[in-house]
C-alpha cells in the first residue's frame, strides 16, 4: 500500500510548536510520510507546498486564534491553484463554535489538547481513503 503523505504546518504568527512536533514524530512512527513545514507560514506558502509535494492530506496547527480565517485562506489559495481535493485537519486551541464552522467548511477533523495519536491517525486514514489515487 502506498504510504500516506501528510503536510504539517502552522499558519499564522503563533509559535506553539509542541503539538505539531509531537504529532510529526507520532505519524512517522505510524508509517506515514510527514512533510513538516514549520511555523510562521502564510496560507499561500502552505498550499503551494501541499501542491508541490503532492500530499494526500494537510494538517494545520493553530494556537493563537484566527483559526477560521487562516483555514479559509488555505482552502481559497488551494482552489485558486485549481486544487480542491486535499482534505484538511486542524489541531490546536479551538472553541466549540470555531469547531462547528470548520466542520461546515469541510475540515475533516478538529483536534484539541489531549487528542491521542490513535484518534488522529484514524481520522487521517478515513479522510485519505476517499481520495481516488
Amino acid at each position: 500500500m502506498k504510504k500516506i503523505r501528510i503536510l504539517l504546518a502552522k499558519p499564522g504568527l503563533d509559535g506553539h510548536l509542541r503539538g505539531i512536533n509531537v504529532l510529526a514524530k507520532g505519524l512517522r512512527e505510524a508509517g506515514m510520510e510527514v512533510i513538516y513545514l514549520g511555523v510562521d507560514l502564510t496560507p499561500k506558502e502552505i498550499s503551494q507546498a501541499a501542491i508541490e509535494e503532492d500530499v494526500d492530506i494537510i494538517g494545520l496547527s493553530i494556537h493563537a486564534g484566527g483559526t477560521v480565517t487562516l483555514v479559509k485562506k488555505v482552502q481559497s489559495t488551494l482552489r485558486e491553484s485549481g486544487v480542491d481535493d486535499i482534505p484538511i485537519l486542524v489541531g490546536g486551541i479551538i472553541s466549540k463554535k470555531e469547531r462547528q464552522i470548520l466542520g461546515e467548511m469541510g475540515v475533516k477533523g478538529v483536534f484539541g489538547p489531549g487528542s491521542s495519536f490513535e484518534r488522529i491517525i484514524e481520522c487521517i486514514d478515513k479522510a485519505c481513503v476517499k481520495k481516488p489515487s
Binding site: L13, H16, G38, D40, A64, T69, L70, K96, P113, S116
Partner: protein, 554 residues
C-alpha cells in the same frame, strides 16, 4: 554536618531491617500500585526518605538562612512575611482601550502587578494591516501599532506605582513604553517592571525562522539591557524564559538546566560588550513554569536558586551579592489545562500555584480554567486571581520562610535536580553554549514531549478526565467563552490608517532613517527607536528600518 555519623549508621541499619521485615513482605503480599515511581527528572523515587538520604548536606553551605548564599531557602531574609509575591495576571485583548479596562478591573480586585500580553502580530513585530496579520489582530492579546495604542493601554494607570511586565519576546515594544513614559513626564528611574526580551529562548521555543539570525538579534536585545542598566535601576530588561521550554515538553531539570545555560550565554554576551557583570546582573530576571508534581516543582525552584548563585559567584566572579540572586516569575502550566471537564483546571492551577509559592517565587501568574479553549473570561480570570489570594491569606503557608526546607524528600530532590541541572549546563557548554546549541536544546525537549505523549497513551501516566475518569462528550458542561468583537480588526486597521494619514510624514521618515543609521553603525538603538515612535512610526516600520540597518532581508 546536620547528622551525627553514628546516628546515620544506626539509621542505615534500622532502614535495612525495616525493608526486610516490614516493607518487602507487605509488597510481596499485596504489591505496589506501580512498578516504578518517578518525577519528570528523577527516575526512581524511593518509598520513603530519611536522614540517610541527606547525610552529606551541610546546612550552612548548602541551605543556609533565607537571604544568605546560596539562597536555597529564598533570596529575601523576610520571605513572604515581609512582602508577598507579586500577583500578576497575563491579560489583554483587542485594543489598548479594551485591555486598559481589563487591567483596571484586575487592579481593583487586588492584582499587584500588570502582565500585558500582545496579539500575534505585535509579538511578531508586524502591523495590524500586514497581510500576515489577518484574522489575528487583537486575538489573545492587545494589538499595538503605534504609540497611540501604548498610551491608551496605560491610560489612567500609575506607571510609577505598579510594576509592569511586558510579555514581549523582542525588544521593540520597550522603546515605545519609554516613549510613553517620557510623554507623560515620568522619569526613567521611577519605572518598575520587566520586558521578556529573550531571543535565545525565542529561537528554540518558537522557531521564528523569518526573523534575523540569532547573533544579529542578540545585539538589539542587548541594547535594551544596556539602556536600562544605565537609566532604569528598577527595571528588569531581560527575563530569561524557561516557561516555553517546559510547555514545550521539557522535564523540570531540563527546564532549569537549559534556562540557566541561556542565562550564561547572555552574561557572556554582555561582558563581551564591555559591561561589568555587577552592573547588569542584579537586574536579570527569570521566568519558569510550574507543573502539578508539587514536590518536584518546589525542589526545582530551590535547586535553580542555588545553582544560579554558584554560577554567578564562581563562574563569573560577580562580587555584588545582588548579582547572585535568582529572581523569577512563575506561570502555572498552560499545557496541563484540559478541554475535558474544564472546571478541574482550577484544582490543577491551585496545586501548581501552591508549589510556586512553596518554592519561593517572586511573582506569579495563575491560569484561568477556560484557557484550553481561548483567552479567559473576566469571571475565570477572577477565580485565578482569587486562587493566589487564598494561598496568600488563608493557607498559612506564608507564615514561615521556606516551610518545606528540611524535608528529607525535598532536600534529596533539590540535590538531585541541582546535579541534573549542572549536568545539562555542561552538555550545552560542550556544544559551544546556548546560542550555538539552540537546535539541540529544542530537539532534546521535544523528544521528551513525545515520550510523555506515549506514556499518557499507554496510561502509564494518568491524566484525570483525559485517559481515565472520563465522561462522554455530550456530558461536558458548556462554558461561556470570551470572544473578541468581530469587527475589531477592521476598526484597528482603520485607526492605524487614520494615524498614518495625520502624522508628519517627513519627520517619520527622518526618524526611521536614524533607526537604520544607528543600527548599521552598531550603536545603541533604543533612543532612536523611541524617537521614531514619538513621531508615530509604526512597530512594523521600525522593524523594517532596523532590518535595513543590520542588512537583513525583510
Amino acid at each position: 554536618m546536620v547528622w551525627d555519623k553514628s546516628e546515620i549508621k544506626k539509621l542505615h541499619e534500622a532502614r535495612a531491617h525495616w525493608e526486610e521485615t516490614c516493607f518487602t513482605p507487605a509488597v510481596e503480599k499485596s504489591g505496589e500500585r506501580k512498578s516504578q515511581f518517578a518525577t519528570t527528572s528523577v527516575e526512581h523515587i524511593k518509598n520513603v526518605y530519611t536522614p540517610t538520604d541527606i547525610k552529606d548536606l551541610n546546612y550552612l553551605e548548602d541551605l543556609n538562612l533565607p537571604g544568605r548564599y546560596p539562597f536555597t531557602r529564598g533570596i529575601r531574609s523576610t520571605g513572604y512575611r515581609g512582602r508577598l509575591w507579586t500577583h500578576r495576571l497575563v491579560s489583554g485583548a483587542m485594543g489598548g482601550k479594551e485591555s486598559n479596562k481589563i487591567f483596571k478591573n484586575l487592579i481593583a480586585h487586588g492584582e499587584t502587578g500588570l502582565n500585558p500580553v500582545f496579539d500575534p502580530p505585535t509579538l511578531n513585530i508586524r502591523d495590524s494591516d500586514d497581510e500576515n496579520s489577518e484574522g489575528q489582530v487583537g486575538v489573545n492579546g492587545t494589538a499595538i501599532d503605534t504609540l497611540v495604542d501604548m498610551e491608551s493601554l496605560f491610560e489612567g494607570i500609575d506607571i510609577e506605582k505598579i510594576s509592569i511586565s511586558l510579555i514581549t519576546p523582542h525588544p521593540f515594544l520597550f522603546p515605545m513604553f519609554i516613549a510613553m513614559a517620557e510623554n507623560r513626564g515620568v522619569p526613567f528611574d521611577k519605572l518598575r517592571g520587566t520586558i521578556q526580551n529573550d531571543c535565545i529562548n525565542n529561537s528554540h521555543s518558537c522557531n521564528w525562522f523569518k526573523m534575523a539570525p540569532l547573533p544579529i538579534r542578540m545585539k538589539v536585545h542587548g541594547d535594551a539591557v544596556e539602556f536600562a542598566t544605565k537609566h532604569m535601576p528598577l527595571w528588569n530588561p531581560l527575563s530569561i524564559v524557561g516557561y516555553h521550554m517546559r510547555e514545550g515538553g521539557s522535564t523540570a531539570a531540563q527546564e532549569i538546566g537549559f534556562t540557566l545555560a541561556d542565562g550564561i550565554a547572555y552574561v557572556e554576551d554582555f561582558i563581551r560588550r564591555g559591561m561589568d557583570v555587577d552592573s547588569f546582573a542584579p537586574r536579570l530576571s527569570f521566568f519558569f513554569g510550574c507543573e502539578t508534581d508539587l514536590f518536584e516543582e518546589v525542589a526545582k525552584f530551590r535547586a535553580a536558586r542555588r545553582a544560579w548563585a554558584k554560577i554567578m559567584r564562581h563562574r563569573f566572579n560577580a562580587k555584588d551579592e545582588r548579582s547572585w540572586l535568582l529572581r523569577y516569575h512563575v506561570q502555572t502550566a498552560g499545557n496541563s489545562l484540559l478541554a475535558q471537564q474544564p472546571l478541574n483546571n482550577i484544582i490543577r492551577t491551585t496545586i501548581q500555584a501552591l508549589a510556586a509559592v512553596l518554592g519561593g517565587c517572586n511573582s506569579l501568574h495563575t491560569n484561568a480554567y477556560d484557557e484550553a479553549f481561548t483567552a479567559p473570561t473576566q469571571e475565570a480570570a477572577m477565580i485565578a486571581l482569587r486562587t493566589q489570594q487564598i494561598i496568600a491569606h488563608e493557607s498559612g503557608v506564608t507564615n514561615t520562610i521556606d516551610p518545606m526546607g528540611g524535608s528529607y524528600y525535598i532536600e534529596a530532590l533539590t540535590d538531585a535536580l541541582e546535579k541534573e541541572c549542572f549536568k545539562i549546563i555542561e552538555q550545552v557548554d560542550e556544544r559551544g553554549g546556548a546560542v550555538k546549541a539552540w537546535q539541540w536544546i529544542q530537539e532534546t525537549y521535544l523528544s521528551t514531549a513525545h515520550e510523555r505523549q506515549r506514556r499518557i497513551e499507554r496510561k502509564e501516566e494518568i491524566i484525570v478526565g483525559l485517559n481515565e475518569f472520563t465522561i462522554r462528550e455530550e456530558e461536558e458542561q458548556e462554558l461561556d467563552l470570551f470572544e473578541i468583537d468581530s469587527d475589531f480588526e477592521k476598526r484597528q486597521i482603520a485607526s492605524l490608517h487614520e494615524i498614518k494619514r495625520k502624522r508628519d510624514q517627513r519627520s517619520v521618515e527622518k526618524a526611521l532613517k536614524e533607526v537604520s543609521r544607528v543600527s548599521e553603525k552598531g550603536h545603541n538603538t533604543i533612543r532612536a527607536i523611541s524617537e521614531a515612535y514619538k513621531e508615530l512610526a509604526t512597530l512594523g516600520e521600525v522593524r523594517s528600518a532596523w532590518e535595513k540597518g543590520v542588512g537583513v532581508e525583510a
